[in-house]
């Protein structure tokens, strides 16, 4: 283990992430990742696909307190969840972003430090953020499956 801390972190090094979007998978990649080797047909509903093995794949979006998430749920032919994958994770704009003059003071500093203002800020440690809204979204999708997708073939 080797840890090299930033020396004396001044309060001013804080940046607000300007609408960071991380794309993990496209719809096609998610289809291949969740149901490898299967083929997919549309159902007429946006984001809902019938899988050749009898299951379904549903792409949905949820809005959290600070984030906007696109995710895919693979449903087995027996109605159980096969896999959930996050396709895209957008962190919301903070209030700091609106203040252009405040942000301007970091422009020169970002090149010298590993801090990337508009880049991809990875490896964030912090108090755990809840994924309850995704769990609720999955419940909603399973309800939709029970009421209108199951047996509709």
């Amino acid at each position: 283990m080797r840890w090299t801390p930033v020396l004396a972190v001044p309060a001013a090094i804080v940046v607000t992430v300007p609408g960071k979007a991380t794309v993990y998978l496209t719809t096609e990649q998610a289809q291949r990742a969740i149901f490898p080797g299967a083929t997919f047909t549309g159902t007429g509903r946006p984001g809902v696909f019938r899988v050749s093995n009898g299951g379904y794949l549903v792409i949905d979006q949820v809005v959290g307190k600070h984030e906007y998430i696109t995710y895919a749920v693979g449903i087995n032919p027996n109605g159980t969840v096969k896999q959930i994958e996050i396709l895209q994770y957008n962190e919301s704009y903070g209030y700091e972003v609106r203040n252009a003059s405040w942000r301007a003071q970091f422009v020169g500093k970002s090149a010298a430090s590993p801090l990337q203002l508009n880049g991809d800020i990875k490896n964030i440690s912090g108090a755990t953020l809840s994924s309850k809204h995704v769990t609720d979204g999955v419940k909603r999708i399973l309800n939709m499956y029970e009421t209108s997708l199951k047996g509709a073939r």
Binding site: M1, R2, W3, T4, P5, V6, V9, A11, A12, I13, V14, V15, T16, V17, T22, Y24, L25, A33, K65, H66, Y71, Q83, I84, E85, I86, Y89, E91, S92, Y93, G94, E96, W102, S113, P114, L115, I121, K122, N123, I124, S125, G126, A127, T128, L129, S130, S131, K132, V134, T135, V138
Partner: protein
């Protein structure tokens, strides 16, 4: 390859490289499966988990658990002793009482981990009815299991991040810290190589209870909630130890405590930048002199 799945009640991200596409895909999927298994075994919320089974029955007769559960409890007991009782998974009865955790069963009387025993053949027994929550250590353990799976697949460079508790193998990676009060504010903290960092804060779970405030962080000795908004970070060789030490640091506020040295760990406390702003705001409201001053004077 970077993938993210909702697991352990949070978002788990795995970023790995060094293998051909389909092999990497398999390795990452196997690592996620290990994290999911930890979730199923150690979830407080799931009545079918091993943890729920011991909370229901271990005070009556020894309960058999999965080897991973026995391993986590064994490490938790060692950390409990090493930190003079500051790390304690038996504080869950307070969390249930404060409704931070759901109260499906009877609320147990306060007890400590000293009443928890690991018996041969992965059996757990309690001296007295108590409520155990592995929330302070299981996420770190899950990250360690995921890293072990990636290593077995010959992956040399990877980062596994379970909602803020992360472990890196391979080259040094930049680590950023999220502000506990304003999650959209991120700051660069340092470079980490072959190690783990975990951060805890009361701010994300702060809720009103009765006439006061409570959170998911509890002082083991006084059984009082921690209600400040600082971020408590610990860096260690394993994510499980880092995860556990954040709870110790939140209570002791001493990164130079002997337990950190003995575990080869580093700890640091970061005050919330958003909280500092609010403090400025409070002062403006409370002090009549400041109330007439232009608001922008108090912006950070």
């Amino acid at each position: 390859m970077r993938r993210q799945r909702p697991l352990l009640g949070t978002f788990v991200e795995i970023d790995a490289e060094g293998l051909p596409g389909h092999e990497l895909e398999r390795a990452v999927a196997a690592a996620f499966a290990a994290v999911a298994l930890v979730g199923r075994l150690m979830s407080f919320h799931d009545p079918d988990s091993d943890l729920s089974a011991i909370n229901r029955g271990a005070a009556v007769a020894p309960v058999a658990v999965h080897p991973w559960v026995a391993r986590v409890i064994s490490r938790a007991l060692a950390l409990h002793r090493l930190t003079d009782g500051l790390f304690d998974c038996a504080i869950a009865c307070e969390l249930v009482r404060w409704k931070v955790l759901p109260d499906d069963g009877p609320v147990t009387a306060p007890a400590t981990m000293a009443a928890v025993h690991l018996l041969p053949d992965n059996h757990i027994a309690f001296d007295t009815p108590l409520t155990l929550d592995l929330g302070g250590i299981a996420k770190g353990f899950a990250v360690d299991r995921a890293v072990a799976v990636l290593r077995r697949h010959a992956i040399r460079a990877a980062v596994v991040n379970a909602g803020g508790d992360l472990r890196a193998i391979g080259p040094a990676v930049p680590i950023h810290l999220r502000d506990p009060v304003d999650p959209s504010a991120i700051r660069f903290a340092g470079m980490l190589q072959n190690g783990a960092i975990a951060t805890s804060s009361a701010a994300t779970t702060l809720t009103r209870f009765g006439s006061g405030q409570v959170s998911a962080l509890v002082r083991a000795r006084t059984r009082q909630p921690i209600v400040d908004c600082d971020a408590y970070s610990a860096i260690a060789g394993s994510c499980m130890v880092a995860d556990a030490l954040t709870k110790v640091l939140a209570q002791s506020r001493q990164p130079d405590a002997p337990c950190f040295r003995r575990l080869g760990a580093v700890g640091f406390i970061t005050p919330s930048h958003a909280q500092q702003r609010f403090k400025g705001l409070d002062r403006r409201i409370a002090d009549p002199y400041f109330s007439n001053a232009p608001a922008r004077r108090y912006r950070a």
